[in-house]
């Protein structure tokens, strides 16, 4: 290889080891990036599922005791989750939310009750 011409053996060896390390690093990073990108959705989904489960557990007694203030406070915990733009709790069969959390003023408007089979 022409690039290596005129270099001492010592330099050549150093260059070879630097280049091979770089190649390994770059390919490993690429693999990680691809892995991250492909599993992102899945991980986000499972994380949101867990959070919804926790919320629903904490929403049981506010619902039983008809305390929408407490339910709203429970939902406000969603603030910590940047990926969530809005959340709401509906009583079965009602179209107005029992409690709602909009991240900003515009995001709450889109909330509608889930269909009966969901």
């Amino acid at each position: 290889m022409r690039v290596f011409e005129g270099l001492t053996v010592r330099r050549k060896l150093t260059s070879i080891s630097v280049i091979s390390s770089m190649t390994a690093l770059v390919s490993a990073s690429l693999v990680f990036l691809v892995y991250d990108a492909t599993t992102f959705r899945e991980r986000l989904q499972s994380r949101l599922g867990t959070e919804a489960q926790i919320l629903s557990f904490n929403a049981v007694t506010p619902l039983l005791f008809n305390d929408s203030e407490a339910a709203t406070a429970t939902l406000a915990g969603l603030q910590a989750e940047k990926a969530v733009t809005a959340g709401a709790i509906f009583r079965a069969g009602e179209s107005r939310p029992f409690a709602a959390y909009p991240r900003d003023a515009s995001s709450g408007a889109a909330l509608s009750p889930p269909s009966a089979d969901s």
């Binding site: 929403a59 733009t85 889109a110």
Partner: protein, 178 residues
């Protein structure tokens, strides 16, 4: 990939407190439903659950009428069918798991509560300052919705464990010395 996830929609299939959607439930329908819900979130010591039935005593004037029977009918609490026992004599509430003290007992509340002390009976009432007067759960109205206060000291003395899930909903929690 964008970090915008959809909405988290929680559909909890909770029955409405009572009655058809047309009429709003009355305060006593709500309170009766609350009594049932309290029963689900309180732990009684084993020796207080010896009988085959879960007994709800109503001491003094009964403000519920048939409403409370409707709430409890066909339901079980801790695996036991529910018996509603109406009485004017406090002693007849012995062996009950829950006692609603009617407003007619306001003047002699201390006496009534003293008679129930020593047993693990969850005392509930809706007279003024019930929880301050030594009752465990006192209903009160806030903006015309039914809320309640909890007296933890009395609960502890009766060896009753109320779930924190309920305590956090209390308008006021009376602790030691409070």
């Amino acid at each position: 990939m964008t970090a915008t996830a959809g909405f988290v929609l929680l559909a909890l299939a909770m029955p409405r407190p009572a009655g058809p959607a047309a009429a709003l439930p009355t305060d006593y329908e709500v309170k009766a439903a609350f009594l049932y819900n309290f029963a689900k979130f309180v732990r009684w010591p084993d020796d207080a659950m010896g009988g085959p039935r879960f007994v709800v005593a109503i001491v003094g004037d009964d403000p519920f009428g048939a409403v409370i029977d409707r709430v409890f009918v066909g339901k079980t609490v801790l695996g036991r069918p529910v018996e509603i026992r109406r009485t004017r004599v406090v002693r007849e509430a012995a062996g009950a798991q829950m006692a609603f003290i009617g407003s007619s007992e306001h003047a002699r509340l201390a006496e009534v509560l003293a008679a129930l002390r020593g047993e693990s009976i969850l005392t509930v009432g809706d007279m003024d300052r019930f929880a301050d007067g030594g009752g465990m759960v006192g209903f009160r109205l806030k903006d015309s919705t039914v809320r309640f206060e909890v007296n933890l000291r009395e609960l502890r003395q009766a060896r009753l464990q109320m779930s924190s899930q309920i305590i956090r909903l209390a308008q006021r929690v009376i602790e030691d010395g409070g």
